[in-house]
C-alpha cells in the first residue's frame, strides 16, 4: 500500500512537473569578443536553470561593436539582457529610450561588472617591430590595429588606455592628445568591433601590433597558435569593466524578468566565474581569481574613474560627436 501510494505520488509529481515545464528564450545582446564566453556560459546556465526550475532556457546571442549593439537595442532589438563592453553603452539605454532604470548599475555586485579585462598588445611571433610599451605604437613605420571608438567598446578602452599612459608619462592633456593623435595616424584600418580587428590582424595579416582586449589576445593564441603570435603586456593599462544589465522594459513585456535576472546573477556564481576565467576574463571572485592567477599578467592598472572621472565624462569629452577623437582623427 505504502509503495503503491509512493509510486502514485511520484507519478503525479512527475506529471505535474512535466506539465508545468516551460521553454523560455532570452536574447543576450553582447559586445564583439564574448562569443566563446557566452557559448560556454549559456550551456552552464541552461543546465542550472533546468535543475532548479525544470524549465528549458535557450539563450540567443547577438554580437557586435558595443556602441552599435546599444544603438540596435535602443532602436528596437528585443534584448532581454545586455552584456556590453562598458557602462556608458548601457547608460545609453536609459538616456535614449528608458529601457531600464537610471540606477541599473547598482543592482548587481561590482557595479554590474561580473568580470574584468584589460588592454594588451598582440604582436607577431618574434615581435619583429620590438613592441614593448605604448610609446612603440606611435613610432613611424609601426602599423597599429585597433577598432573604431565610435562603434566599439573595446576601441574606447584602447583609446583611454593610451591616453592614460600618455597623461602619466608626459604630464598634460595636450601631450596626451598629441600622443593619441600620432597613434591613430598609424592605424590603417578601423573595424567596427574588437572581433573585426582580430580578424584584420590575425587572418588578414595586416598590421604590426593589435591593441586588444586581454581575453581576445589569449583567444587568438589559442585558436591560431602560440607559434604565430605573442602577447606583450604594457607597463600600464586600464582596468576594463564590461557591464551587464536586464533590459527591464523588454523583459517585462516578454515575461522573462525572473530568468533574465537569474541569468546575470549566475555570472557571479562560482561556476559562472570559472567559465569567465576559462575564457580569459579576470574573475571578480577572489577564490577563482587565485586559481587562475597564473594565467593573467600582473600590471599596473588604472580605472576610468581615477583618470577620466567616470564614463559619462569620458564619453562626452572624447567620443561624442565633435569630441576629442573626432578632432584628432581624420581620413
Amino acid at each position: 500500500m505504502k509503495l503503491k501510494s509512493l509510486l502514485l505520488t511520484s507519478l503525479a509529481l512527475a506529471l505535474a512537473t512535466g506539465a508545468a515545464a516551460k521553454t523560455i528564450e532570452l536574447l543576450n545582446v553582447s559586445y564583439d569578443p564574448t562569443r566563446e564566453l557566452y557559448v560556454d556560459y549559456n550551456k552552464v546556465f541552461a543546465a542550472y536553470w533546468k535543475a532548479k526550475t525544470g524549465d528549458d532556457v535557450t539563450v540567443k546571442q547577438s554580437h557586435g561593436g558595443s556602441g552599435k549593439q546599444a544603438r540596435a537595442v535602443i532602436d528596437g532589438l528585443q534584448a532581454d539582457v545586455v552584456t556590453l563592453a562598458l557602462a556608458a553603452d548601457v547608460d545609453a539605454l536609459y538616456a535614449n529610450a528608458r529601457l531600464l532604470p537610471e540606477t541599473w548599475q547598482k543592482r548587481l555586485p561590482n557595479n554590474s561588472a561580473p568580470y574584468t579585462s584589460t588592454i594588451v598588445f598582440l604582436v607577431r611571433k618574434g615581435n619583429p617591430k620590438g613592441i614593448k610599451d605604448w610609446d612603440d605604437l606611435v613610432k613611424p613605420g609601426v602599423s597599429v590595429i585597433t577598432p573604431n571608438p565610435k562603434t566599439s567598446g573595446g576601441a574606447r578602452w584602447n583609446y583611454l588606455g593610451a591616453w592614460g599612459y600618455a597623461l602619466r608619462k608626459y604630464g598634460s592633456e595636450d601631450a596626451a592628445k598629441e600622443f593619441v593623435g600620432k597613434l591613430y595616424k598609424n592605424v590603417p584600418v578601423l573595424d567596427s568591433g574588437a572581433r573585426g580587428s582580430t580578424t584584420t590582424f590575425v587572418q588578414r595579416e595586416i598590421g604590426d601590433v593589435a591593441i586588444s582586449w586581454e581575453n581576445e589576445a589569449f583567444l587568438a593564441l589559442k585558436e591560431f597558435g602560440a607559434d604565430k603570435f605573442e602577447i606583450v603586456v604594457p607597463s600600464v593599462s586600464i582596468l576594463a569593466e564590461p557591464t551587464v544589465s536586464v533590459v527591464d522594459k523588454v523583459a517585462r513585456k516578454k515575461g522573462t524578468e525572473a530568468v533574465a535576472k537569474a541569468y546575470l546573477e549566475y555570472l557571479y556564481s562560482d561556476e559562472g566565474q570559472n567559465v569567465a576565467a576559462r575564457n580569459f576574463y579576470r574573475p571578480r571572485n577572489a577564490a577563482v581569481a587565485a586559481k587562475y592567477a597564473g594565467n593573467f599578467a600582473k600590471l599596473d592598472l588604472f580605472t576610468i574613474d581615477e583618470v577620466f572621472g567616470g564614463w559619462t565624462k569620458a564619453q562626452k569629452t572624447h567620443f561624442a560627436d565633435g569630441g576629442v577623437f573626432d578632432q584628432i582623427y581624420s581620413k
Binding site: 557586435g64 578601423l190 567596427s192 595579416e205 595586416i206
Partner: protein
C-alpha cells in the same frame, strides 16, 4: 573607384619592382631593401582589400534597416526595410481637347480642359493601417477628392473610413487613368461618386468573391459629397462581385467576373436629386426643373460584368436609379426610375493583356529603338432612358432629352505605363418625350452630339 585605382596602382608597382629585380643582385642590402618594399606594398594591398571588406560588411548589416526609396512608374515610394511602413506619392494629369462637330455653330463648346490634376498621397503604417489623401486641382475648382483611412485586418476584412468612391458603379470603381475611354459612359450618370462613410470589404471563398457593404451619407446621381450632409438619412450600399474561375489558370473564363450592387436611402430637398445627366462629350442633356425636390426613398440596382482574356477586355453594366420627387414642397410625389446600360470592349493591338487596372506596354515608346509602346482599340454602346413620368411636371420636355444613345470608338496609345495619348470619337443621339416640341429649346439637343475628345495623360 579611387580604392580600385589604388589597388591597381599597388599591383602595378609590385609587378614593376618584381621585373626590376636584377638577375644577380649587386648586394644583400639592396635585396633586403627591395624585400621590405614588396612587403610594404603587400601590406598596402591587404589594407585596401580589408577596407572594402569592412564597407561591404557594414552595407550588409545596414541593409535590413535601411529605408528603401523607389522612383518608378508607380510613383515615388519611401518604405521601411521591412515594408511595414511606407509613404507613396503619385500623380495624375489629364489635358483634354474637346472638339464638337456639326453642332450648328452657335454652341460655344470647343475647349482645352485640364480634366484632372491630382497629387495622390498614400501611406501605410505597421503593415495594416493605410491612408489616402487626394486633392483635385483640375476642372473648375480645387477640392479634396479622396481622404480616407483603412485598416486591413485580413484579406477577408478591410475597414475603410472617410471620403471615397461609393461601391455602386462598376466603371466608376475603375481608376480614372485606366478606363477604356476618356469619359466614362452615360451609365455613370446614375451612380453616386465620392461619398463620406464607412465600409467593410474583403475577398472570401479563396479570393473568388469580393464583398463590400457600407453606410454613407448619401448623394444624388453622379454627385460627390459636399461634406455638409446634415440629416438623419443615410444610404446603405452593398456589392458582391464573383470571379468563379479566378484560380483556374487553364479556363477560358478565368478573367470573367460578374456581380451586383445596390444602394438604398432617403433624400430630401433640391440637393437630394441629381443636378443633371451629361453626354459622353460632357454636355448636360437632362436636368430636373429648378423647383423639383427629392423627398423620399432612393434606391439603385446594378448588375455588372467584366471579362478579360489576353488583349481582349469587355465591360457591361446596367443601372436602375430610383428617386422620389415632388415638383415643389407641396406637390405630388412620384417615384421616377431612370435606367441605363452599356457594353464596352477594348482590344490591345500590340498583344499586351487588357486589364481593369490598365495596360502595361511590353516596351516603351522609343523612336530610336523602333519601339512604339502599346495600342488599344475601344468601342462602346450605351443608353440612358429617363422615366416618362418625369415630363412635364418634374422636368421640362422642351429643354431636355428623355433618352440618350451613344456610340464611342477610340484609340489609346500607351507610350509607357505612365504616359498615354487617348483619342475618342463619341456620337450621341437624343430621344424626346412625346410632349416635347419639334425643335428642342436646348441648342445642343437639336442634332446628334459628335465629339472628338483627345487626351494627353501622365499617371504614376
Amino acid at each position: 573607384m579611387r580604392t580600385f585605382t589604388r589597388i591597381g596602382a599597388a599591383l602595378f608597382s609590385v609587378a614593376a619592382f618584381s621585373t626590376a629585380l636584377p638577375a644577380a643582385p649587386a648586394d644583400s642590402a639592396d635585396l633586403q631593401a627591395l624585400r621590405e618594399q614588396v612587403q610594404a606594398l603587400e601590406q598596402q594591398l591587404k589594407v585596401l582589400a580589408r577596407q572594402i571588406e569592412i564597407k561591404e560588411e557594414a552595407a550588409t548589416a545596414a541593409a535590413p534597416t535601411t529605408p528603401k526609396v523607389t522612383v518608378n512608374d508607380k510613383g515615388f515610394t519611401l518604405a521601411s526595410a521591412d515594408n511595414a511602413n511606407s509613404l507613396k506619392i503619385r500623380g495624375l494629369a489629364q489635358l483634354d481637347s474637346r472638339l464638337f462637330f456639326d453642332d450648328g455653330g452657335g454652341v460655344v463648346n470647343n475647349a482645352f480642359v485640364l480634366r484632372r490634376a491630382r497629387i495622390i498621397t498614400e501611406g501605410t503604417f505597421a503593415k495594416i493601417y493605410s491612408f489616402q489623401f487626394v486633392p483635385e486641382f483640375g476642372g473648375s475648382s480645387i477640392s479634396i477628392l479622396d481622404a480616407n483611412f483603412s485598416v486591413a485586418v485580413d484579406k477577408a476584412l478591410n475597414v475603410k473610413f472617410g471620403k471615397f468612391k461609393s461601391p455602386v458603379g462598376l466603371e466608376l470603381l475603375q481608376s480614372d487613368s485606366w478606363t477604356f475611354f476618356n469619359e466614362r459612359s452615360i451609365v455613370t450618370n446614375l451612380v453616386p461618386n465620392r461619398d463620406l462613410g464607412v465600409q467593410v470589404s474583403g475577398d472570401v471563398l479563396n479570393g473568388t468573391l469580393n464583398y463590400t457593404a457600407g453606410v454613407f451619407g448619401g448623394v444624388p446621381d453622379a454627385a460627390s459629397t459636399n461634406n455638409a450632409d446634415f440629416d438623419n438619412e443615410k444610404d446603405l450600399v452593398g456589392r458582391l462581385f464573383y470571379s468563379p474561375f479566378k484560380n483556374d489558370a487553364a479556363s477560358f473564363l478565368q478573367g470573367l467576373s460578374f456581380g451586383v450592387s445596390a444602394s438604398g436611402g432617403r433624400e430630401k430637398t433640391a440637393s437630394g436629386r441629381t443636378a443633371g445627366y451629361k453626354t459622353d462629350g460632357q454636355q448636360t442633356f437632362f436636368s430636373y426643373a429648378a423647383a423639383t425636390i427629392a423627398d423620399g426613398q432612393t434606391w439603385r440596382f446594378s448588375p455588372q460584368l467584366d471579362y478579360r482574356n489576353g488583349p481582349l477586355g469587355l465591360i457591361g453594366e446596367y443601372v436602375v436609379s430610383a428617386v422620389n420627387v415632388r415638383p415643389s414642397a407641396t406637390g405630388v410625389k412620384t417615384e421616377l426610375q431612370n435606367k441605363a446600360w452599356q457594353v464596352a470592349a477594348g482590344y490591345v493591338l500590340t498583344g499586351e493583356d487588357s486589364s481593369f487596372t490598365g495596360v502595361s506596354p511590353a516596351t516603351n515608346f522609343n523612336f530610336e529603338a523602333g519601339t512604339w509602346g502599346a495600342f488599344e482599340l475601344t468601342a462602346r454602346y450605351s443608353n440612358l432612358k429617363i422615366d416618362d413620368a418625369a415630363f412635364p411636371i418634374y422636368a421640362s420636355a422642351s429643354t431636355n432629352a428623355d433618352e440618350a444613345t451613344a456610340i464611342g470608338a477610340g484609340l489609346n496609345w500607351y507610350l509607357s505605363k505612365t504616359v498615354a495619348f487617348k483619342f475618342d470619337y463619341y456620337q450621341t443621339k437624343f430621344g424626346f418625350s412625346p410632349l416635347a416640341p419639334a425643335v428642342s429649346g436646348t441648342q445642343i439637343l437639336r442634332q446628334d452630339e459628335k465629339a472628338l475628345i483627345s487626351r494627353f495623360q501622365v499617371s504614376f
